[in-house]
């Protein structure tokens, strides 16, 4: 079990008066403090870790967020911001002495501006909710994390979420124009706006992906894009990971940047096929889903070129969709991957390292070797164009030894990612999950520099503490240090 900072005894002692003080700042039903009703907030998408918080505040306006933060700051109370609670790295995991600020009631779309191609929404609007609001005019919001039906834009900003289409459209940071934030002092600050380039320091860039440690985001201005005329997918299956990896290289080398380029290994193909019956080739070792965009004629031309490239890599099968329905069928298995793995194994860890794409075959081979030595199954799904790897490690949560082995296996995969020139997390964030691995990627003085920047925003270390940075008391010696 991961260590958290010890609860502050004085805060625990003053629980009742803190709850009463917060209740006075919030609308009716805006504060939860009854143990039974706190229970749903005890965990997030990393459900192996649980901790009931001291209270949950559900503000409806930026001003209420400011009131709550000012109160918490004055009273030395820790704060954990939360959107939909879908973080896979434990970014929204509460602490016993912390107030969770849930932003789900701030779910209004404030402004849509087609002429300037942007939309301003409150932090609790879901990712898909933005696209749904602009789809009638043919627009969309580009980043599309797997959890997009549930996850909220405020969480996306804090984790700098990606998705399957970021090879072309970028991640959250590349699709933002402005933020409204509240500091721990309760100051409300607007950053950016509807314009493209801000003057001064890039606060928008620093806040994006800051995992709730610098400020609470209450409003977000995003770029909205006009959707292309159409999109179509193809599927190519190969005899080995090496050949599929070489095919990915050849595609990028051809000058074509597909809008999505997804890689699945044999265990992932089998799991997804058994679940979704998408018609995936079960004799393949590796499979690519490639999607292109444009007019029908443009799609044809690109898919012809891509088929030609795939054919040079001796594919086992090649399936080019002719209709949107066939494209959906190709995507069906991939989109259902989490459900598919869940059917094989009720418990799994979804890892999220990034590697240089050239190292893919070697990394997959070594993950398979680890799988054997840990005695745990793993399936790999991979955003191949940008090197973002998602190994799904299956384990049995009822068996503490199995869970421990899965965690160690996951950590070993992430260390491998760093070793080959990659990083610990491509899009899920560090949270608590990868916190203690940070010294593998960063020198002590580099982490210290990042800590100082957090202190500039949050001098009392109250905003989402126990996340991202190893705890001061953590034993440093057991991990390989960054060279």
């Amino acid at each position: 079990m991961i260590e958290m900072l010890d609860p502050k005894p004085d805060v625990m002692r003053r629980r009742d008066s803190i709850v009463a003080g917060l209740r006075a700042l919030l609308p009716e039903s805006g504060l939860i403090s009854e143990p039974l009703r706190l229970k749903p907030y005890e965990t997030d998408g990393l459900s192996a870790y649980r901790q009931v918080p001291l209270a949950v505040a559900l503000p409806e306006t930026t001003e209420q967020v400011a009131d709550v933060l000012r109160f918490c700051h004055k009273n030395g109370v820790r704060v954990v911001p939360r959107g939909a609670g879908t973080s896979l790295s434990g970014g929204a995991l509460p602490m016993a002495d912390a107030v969770v600020i849930g932003l789900m009631r701030m779910n209004q779309i404030l402004n849509i501006d087609y002429a300037d191609r942007c939309a301003t929404v409150q932090a609790g609007v879901t990712n898909i909710g933005i696209t749904n609001a602009v789809t009638e005019r043919g627009f969309f919001y580009a980043p599309d994390p797997s959890s997009q039906l549930a996850c909220m834009i405020g969480g996306n900003v804090n984790m700098n979420s990606g998705g399957a289409h970021c090879l072309k459209y970028g991640v959250t940071a590349n699709n933002l124009l402005g933020l409204r934030i509240v500091t721990i002092d309760g100051d409300i600050i607007s950053i950016g706006g509807a314009h493209l380039d801000a003057a001064g320091y890039d606060w928008l860039g620093l806040l994006t992906g800051s995992e709730g440690m610098l400020a609470v985001v209450t409003e977000v201005t995003v770029r909205i894009l006009r959707a292309p005329e159409g999109a179509r997918a193809m599927l190519a299956a190969f005899r080995s990971n090496e050949v599929a990896g070489a095919c990915v290289d050849a595609i990028i080398g051809s000058g074509i940047i597909p809008v999505a380029l997804e890689f699945m290994d044999r265990p992932a193909i089998h799991a997804c096929e058994a679940y979704a019956h998408a018609g995936y080739p079960l004799d393949a070792e590796a499979m690519l889903i490639i999607e292109v965009e444009g007019s029908a004629a443009e799609q044809d031309r690109l898919l012809d070129k891509l088929s030609e490239i795939c054919n040079q890599h001796n594919p086992i099968s090649l399936r080019v969709s002719q209709t949107p329905e066939e494209s959906l069928a190709i995507w069906k298995g991939r989109k259902g991957a989490f459900g598919a793995i869940g059917r094989i194994s009720p418990d799994y860890l979804c890892m999220d390292g990034t590697i240089p794409t050239s190292r893919l075959p070697e990394v997959l081979r070594r993950i398979q070797e680890m799988s054997v030595s840990f005695g745990l199954q793993v399936a790999n799904i991979f955003h191949a164009g940008d090197g973002n790897l998602h190994p799904l490690i299956m384990f049995d949560a009822n068996d503490p030894a199995s869970f421990h082995a899965a965690e160690t296996f996951g950590a070993d995969i992430l260390k491998l990612c760093v070793e080959v020139g990659g990083c610990l997390t491509g899009e899920h964030g560090v949270g608590v999950e990868k916190r203690d691995l940070m010294p593998v990627q960063f020198h002590g003085h580099e982490l210290e520099q990042q800590r100082r920047i957090k202190l500039a925003f949050d001098p009392d270390w109250l905003l989402n503490p126990s996340k991202v940075f190893p705890l001061p008391a953590a034993p440093p010696a057991i991990l390989p240090q960054a060279a």
């Binding site: 590349n174 990028i252 020139g421 990659g422 100082r452 060279a483």
Partner: protein, 407 residues
């Protein structure tokens, strides 16, 4: 080779000597002017420093992996060298950074990668594909504490820790001396083509650009040039009145198809399509701000506003003797006019009226030293700015005063 080794390759004498200079400067509290080749020294506020610290000695491409869309180079590497290496593999810098030597004075040396990143300067493609800051995947920098720090890495997706790449990009050398940069790059498109719509006023021109950028055709640049600016761009001479320009960069058949569709849908009389060669020349001229042609004594500003607000900025400033043109669909306003505080105040007002920002790109030292070269931040943010500056440069020796007086 491990990540740390790959990065540490450049941890050589030149970087160590930069760290030594910074350490000495911090110990004696003697400010340093940080520069590459000094091509952007005329931007923002003048820096009062006894010594100059240049990254010119850090010059080489340290890693180029075309199939991984990644290039790393040391900060002092001349940008043309990087562009040539990319072009040899059919790739390019996504943000299309401008060469401002015509505007800022030709130092006789090319701009460096570090200079372009430290100033976060992007060209026409920014409107569709993002700014320099969007493609900085990794940095290495010497902080004011004389420590070498890394942020990001050499992969395309990375959310490990605070994103100091973005904080350092566009920080104008005030938070650290960037020594190495890793960028995402992309294949250059096979072909380029441009639709030119003649004789639209700024409002109608920007409306057409908005329609084009809001179309499904993947427009990669969108600019509006007024009557006086058109003849300054080779290839546009026969457009008598304003020119509204829309660029497509794609595979050859797609360029033809998409420009045809745009011409039909925008339905402006006299619309013309420029071929590949002519398009490339025109957009290079716009990238490098050739349509502006300020007088020798003029100051130059760059104003960033909501795209639909661009025409109002031009209108408000024309009576003050300020001329300009629009890029980024109307959202980037390049302006030239009298180098005095009244004109500067008018620019501030025009930018603020649309919720936008400004940057003083060029002017006499007296003007640069006495006006807000970028907008002041609200007080709560200004406090954070001071704290972050102190966190990275506690002695305040890195380019002091470049962005804000006293910082």
């Amino acid at each position: 080779m491990s990540f740390a080794q790959a990065i540490d390759r450049t941890s050589d004498e030149a970087e160590a000597s930069i760290a030594r200079v910074v350490r000495d400067a911090a110990a004696s509290r003697e400010p340093l002017l940080i520069e590459g080749h000094g091509t952007k020294a005329g931007m923002l506020r003048p820096v009062q420093a006894a010594r100059t610290l240049s990254t010119a000695g850090l010059s080489s491409i340290s890693l180029y992996a075309p199939k991984e869309l990644i290039i790393s180079a040391r900060a002092g590497t001349p940008l043309p060298e990087i562009e040539a290496a990319l072009a040899a593999s059919g790739q390019h810098l996504i943000a299309e950074p401008p060469d401002l030597s015509e505007l800022l004075g030709d130092s006789g040396r090319p701009q460096t990668l570090g200079g372009v990143v430290a100033t976060n300067l992007s060209g026409p493609r920014r409107v569709a594909w993002g700014a320099m800051r969007d493609h900085v995947m990794g940095v290495r920098a010497v902080t004011g504490r004389a420590e070498v720090i890394r942020s990001g890495g050499r992969v395309l997706k990375n959310v490990t820790g605070l994103d100091l790449c973005k904080l350092l990009t566009g920080s104008h050398g005030t938070l650290g001396v960037i020594t190495e940069i890793t960028l995402k790059v992309l294949p250059a498109s096979e072909a380029t083509g441009t639709l030119v719509l003649p004789a639209l006023d700024a409002v109608a021109g920007v409306a057409a650009l908005a329609a084009a950028l809001g179309s499904p055709y993947g427009v990669s640049a969108a600019a509006w040039l007024p009557n006086d600016a058109v003849p300054r761009v080779a290839g546009l001479e026969h457009f008598r009145r304003s020119a509204t320009l829309v660029r497509i960069e794609e595979f050859t058949p797609s360029v033809a198809y998409r420009l045809d569709r745009l011409r039909d849908e925008l339905a402006v009389t006299g619309a013309t399509i420029l071929d590949d060669r002519s398009s490339r020349g025109v957009w290079k001229a716009i990238r490098d701000v050739r349509p502006l042609a300020p007088r020798t004594t003029d100051a130059v500003w760059r104003v960033s506003v909501r795209p639909s607000g661009g025409p109002a900025v031009l209108d408000a400033l024309r009576p003050k003797g300020v001329s300009g043109f629009l890029d980024w669909g109307g959202g980037l306003v390049w302006l030239a006019g009298p180098a005095d505080t009244q004109t500067h105040a008018a620019i501030e007002m025009a930018a603020q009226a649309t919720g936008g920002t400004w940057t003083l790109m060029r002017g006499p030292d007296t003007l640069r030293g006495s006006v807000r070269v970028v907008p002041d931040e609200p007080s709560a943010l200004a406090r954070i700015t001071r704290e972050v500056k102190a966190a990275l440069d506690p002695a305040g020796v890195l380019n002091p005063g470049r962005l804000y007086a006293g910082l």
